[in-house]
């Protein structure tokens, strides 16, 4: 018996309605992109969950390192001027 294979892992992203963002649904195994697309469809959209699918080989995804999360994400916590509620509008101003 040769080396067994369960094919490669792909990550599946589904858009549930046109215009909405693609959301990670899970993963599947497949040997090529056509099969990955079909397997994603057969696995994750059996109840009308999707209108569009992306499949990406898992090996192509780079994930941030948990050890870096303070460095990456904490600095944005105090940049409150990026949020509209930071600004004081004169009383009576509308449509802004």
């Amino acid at each position: 018996m040769g080396k067994d294979t369960q094919l490669n892992i792909w990550e599946v992203f589904i858009q549930s309605k046109s215009g909405l963002p693609y959301i990670h649904a899970g993963s599947i195994h497949a040997s090529d992109e056509k099969m990955a697309m079909q397997n994603a469809r057969d696995t994750y959209t059996r109840r009308g969950e999707g209108t569009s699918i992306w499949v990406v080989p898992s090996s192509c995804i780079t994930a941030s390192n948990p050890g870096d999360s303070e460095m990456l994400f904490d600095p944005s916590n105090d940049k409150i001027y990026r949020h509209p509620t930071f600004y004081v509008m004169p009383e009576g101003a509308t449509n802004i």
Partner: protein, 312 residues
């Protein structure tokens, strides 16, 4: 040690642990064991119900049963994927199943003998599984919790289709009623055993509770199942095969007779009616699929080579 305290703090705070996060080795091992056992159960569970696909008695019943078993395959797939995030391949997981290192739920070592068994499996077995799965939606490992959320959504029709079959048969002919009661008699106790040994005898419980891999104890979950299922049985005229069942108005719970733990251990140790059959089935088709999987890989390799030739 400091790391473990930090980790425990995260769990206690209700944070989800993700694949790349640091985690105690024992936590990882426990998860692999638990999630893969769960995955194997879904996949092996396709067999008893699969025994009736070609004999489903109507076009509607055939489609429902097929779609239901397909869901279980999907659940196996989601859970294998969740286990893979812990750094073990599906290939390896299947090897563990075949070697006996990994277990699957005992319940699937019982045979599905008449059409009402399909009702009983959906109603009782999926019913028991749901009680467990609902509580696992809040488990501490993110990929596991997310898989459980998806699974619980899909499970919602499984128990109903089973109960519908039972109800239909209980309002049918004399033979249908007999089949339904027969199925009830055979599946009731094994369904109760699905929750595992009493809390006092459960070997893996303490760490699992601490790490929020297990959110409620075996006995708590079992009691939930008993309390919701007995009235359902009575409603359609099925007798619970236990002369000691009684309602306790003080505790607001049903009390039941003693579970036969000897049988439980007998089946766990490989001596249930279908242990061999289930495993042989899985091995046979796994092996028969090898040439297909190899061909698919060989084709994609060739295709990539051709494409890179064109680009060069």
């Amino acid at each position: 040690m400091a790391d473990e305290i930090k980790f425990q703090k995260r769990v206690d705070n209700g944070e989800y642990i993700e694949a790349k996060d640091e985690m105690p080795e024992e936590y990882r091992r426990h998860l692999i064991r638990q999630i893969s056992q769960h995955a194997h159960s879904e996949v092996i569970g396709m067999q008893p119900e699969g025994n009736w696909i070609t004999r489903a008695p109507s076009l509607r019943a055939k489609q429902i049963l097929l779609a239901k078993i397909q869901d279980e395959g999907g659940h196996g797939l989601y859970l294998y994927s969740a286990t893979e995030t812990l750094g073990i391949s599906r290939d390896e997981l299947i090897k563990q199943l075949h070697s006996g290192k990994a277990k699957y739920s005992n319940i699937f070592n019982y045979p599905a003998l008449n059409w009402a068994d399909i009702g009983a499996i959906g109603w009782l077995v999926d019913g028991a599984a749901i009680v467990n799965q609902v509580s696992l939606q809040r488990t501490s490992y993110g990929p596991y919790a997310r898989a459980m959320v998806r699974i619980c959504k899909e499970e919602s029709f499984h128990q109903r289709q089973g109960y519908e079959i039972m109800a239909k048969m209980m309002s049918g002919t004399k033979e249908q009623k007999e089949m339904a009661q027969d199925a009830m008699n055979r599946w009731w106790w094994p369904a109760l055993m699905m929750f595992g040994p009493h809390d006092t005898n459960s070997p893996h419980s303490s760490n699992a509770v601490k790490w929020k891999i297990k959110r409620e104890t075996n006995d708590e979950l079992r009691q939930k199942f008993i309390d919701k299922t007995i009235p359902q049985a009575e409603l359609i005229g099925l007798k619970v095969p236990d002369n000691n069942v009684k309602w306790n108005a003080k505790t607001n719970h049903y009390e039941i007779g003693e579970i036969n733990w000897d049988e439980f251990h007998k089946v766990i140790n490989g001596h249930g009616p279908c242990n061999k059959q289930r495993m042989n089935h899985h091995k046979k088709y796994h092996e028969e699929g090898i040439w297909v999987r190899e061909a698919a890989e060989a084709y994609s390799k060739k295709k990539l080579e051709r494409e890179s030739l064109i680009q060069a």
